[in-house]
């Protein structure tokens, strides 16, 4: 028994020795890089090289997008262009006829369902009137309110949860972007009156805070990539106007940044968005 134990102990000792000293391993193996070239051992690395740690330049801390969840207004799938169209139609713009917004379609189908339930139960059911952004804007424009007052009225209604707004109007700090709302009314009114659609503005990083342009030489072609870091108060609609002149191309921006934005209203300060070039 003892002999067996001693034999095993010796065997273990020998194996350990072999592992540690590796007498049969080629010494030069350790000094070769994976491609087989012999590493010239003339560079001596000592701790002295990095002694002066303070002198090292520290990289600037990368600012991560703020993850703070702001309270956002309720949104729905009504398109801003449909809503604007109906505002213009209601205000009597020539050549503009109202369209059925998603909200109205939903109201209609709900009304059909209620009629079905009513027929079955004999109980009268009510489809409550809800305030809509469309109605608020029409009333404010009719009353000749200033842009500032419209901003206050719309944001109060959104904060109180009484209206839902199109997603592209939601700003990075959880407000409703009435600049985009009003700008789009003007743009669509101009187009309805036979005017031209706004052109794509020439923008440069000097004028737009948060914009970056990276130029990459690919073969003979120079490829320009544009980026934009979301600022406080930006909405996707506003970014679209900034780079493309109107809200028409918000989808292009949204599609290019789907990995970052789960929906057009989930825009956050500090997010770095790709601004694609429009296909000409």
């Amino acid at each position: 028994m003892i002999r067996t134990t001693v034999a095993l102990a010796v065997l273990a000792f020998v194996i350990c020795g072999l592992i540690i000293f590796r007498p049969f391993a080629g010494d030069d193996l350790a000094a070769r890089d994976p491609l087989g070239a012999r590493i010239v051992p003339d560079v001596e690395v000592t701790r002295a090289v990095t002694q002066n740690l303070e002198a090292l330049t520290r990289p600037a801390p990368v600012q991560a997008p703020r993850r703070v969840d702001v309270t956002r207004p309720d949104t729905d799938d009504t398109h801003l262009s449909d809503m604007t169209n109906n505002v213009l139609a209601e205000l009597g713009f020539a050549g503009v006829s109202p369209v059925t917004t998603n909200s109205q379609a939903q109201r209609q189908s709900t009304s059909d369902i209620l009629a079905g339930i009513e027929a079955a139960t004999g109980q009268q059911s009510v489809l409550e009137q809800r305030e809509t952004l469309e109605a608020i804007v029409i009333a404010a424009l009719r009353a000749g309110e200033s842009d500032e007052t419209i901003d206050v009225i719309v944001n109060q209604a959104a904060a109180a949860g009484t209206v839902a707004v199109p997603e592209i109007l939601v700003t990075s700090d959880g407000r409703v972007d009435t600049y985009v709302l009003l700008n789009n009314i003007v743009t669509q009114a101009q187009i309805a009156a036979g005017g031209a659609a706004p052109g794509i503005p020439q923008v440069s990083p000097d004028e737009i805070q948060g914009m970056e342009v990276h130029v990459v030489q690919q073969a003979a072609v120079e490829v320009q990539s544009r980026f934009y870091t979301v600022q406080t108060g930006d909405s996707l609609g506003a970014i679209s106007i900034k780079f493309f002149g109107s809200i028409k191309h918000f989808e292009t921006i949204f599609e290019a940044n789907k990995g970052l934005l789960s929906s057009p209203d989930r825009i956050r300060v500090g997010q770095r968005l790709v601004i694609p070039q429009l296909e000409s």
Partner: protein, 212 residues
């Protein structure tokens, strides 16, 4: 406003059975189920043609999955799964007593092509959170608005939900939406077999058509 035309076709295929007693009964001691819905009386029987087979849309066995994937027996915790006899009992008791409602959760077009007599069409999407008018539907089903603004389901009706068949997620989705909205699970029943199983055993079907 939707005008519903009832074209009940049950017992139209009783050819050949003559004046003899019914050959195809619901159970040994039950030949039909009769219930009233808002003053209207419905009678459900089975097709008396013993040679009848499934035809058309619901004879199909292999709908693509996804989206039409087989559903589990239990739709949600607390929701009881029903078969045809339970659905008939629900119509005869709960629906007749105005305590319950049978909901067809398919799209309006599918509902118009034929549904269980007495069923009311509430497409599952309209019960989803995206429908800003959902609370109006829930109130029509008996929920009331509590003083603090939330919905109170104490007097809400018991519901039996169904859709196309065991391969349809419409009814389970509708059940999920209802429970998320606060509807008590113990007031909800799930008829998993749906319209396909219903037609498959020759039970009466009601057609709803919108003129124009």
């Amino acid at each position: 406003m939707r005008h519903i035309v009832f074209l009940t076709v049950f017992s139209s295929l009783m050819a050949g059975t003559g004046a003899t007693a019914q050959e195809v009964r619901i159970t040994t001691f039950k030949s039909d189920a009769t219930f009233t819905l808002n003053g209207q009386t419905f009678t459900i029987t089975r097709n008396q043609d013993t040679g009848a087979t499934m035809q058309g849309e619901f004879a199909r066995t292999s709908r693509a999955c996804p989206p039409d994937c087989l559903q589990p027996m239990h739709a949600a915790d607390g929701v009881v799964t029903a078969g045809e006899l339970e659905v008939l009992a629900f119509l005869e008791q709960d629906v007749t007593d105005r305590r319950g409602l049978l909901l067809d959760t398919r799209a309006p077009e599918a509902f118009a092509r034929g549904s269980i007599p007495g069923a009311v069409n509430v497409p599952f999407v309209t019960l989803g959170p995206e429908n800003r008018f959902r609370d109006d539907i829930l109130r029509a089903l008996g929920a009331t608005t509590a003083p603090n603004g939330t919905l109170d389901f104490t007097n809400a009706m018991s519901l039996t939900l169904f859709s196309g068949g065991a391969w349809s997620s419409d009814a389970p989705d509708a059940i999920e939406h209802l429970i998320t909205a606060g509807y008590p699970a113990e007031k909800i029943y799930y008829y998993r077999g749906g319209i396909q199983a219903w037609i498959g055993v020759g039970l009466s079907v009601q057609f709803h058509q919108t003129p124009g």
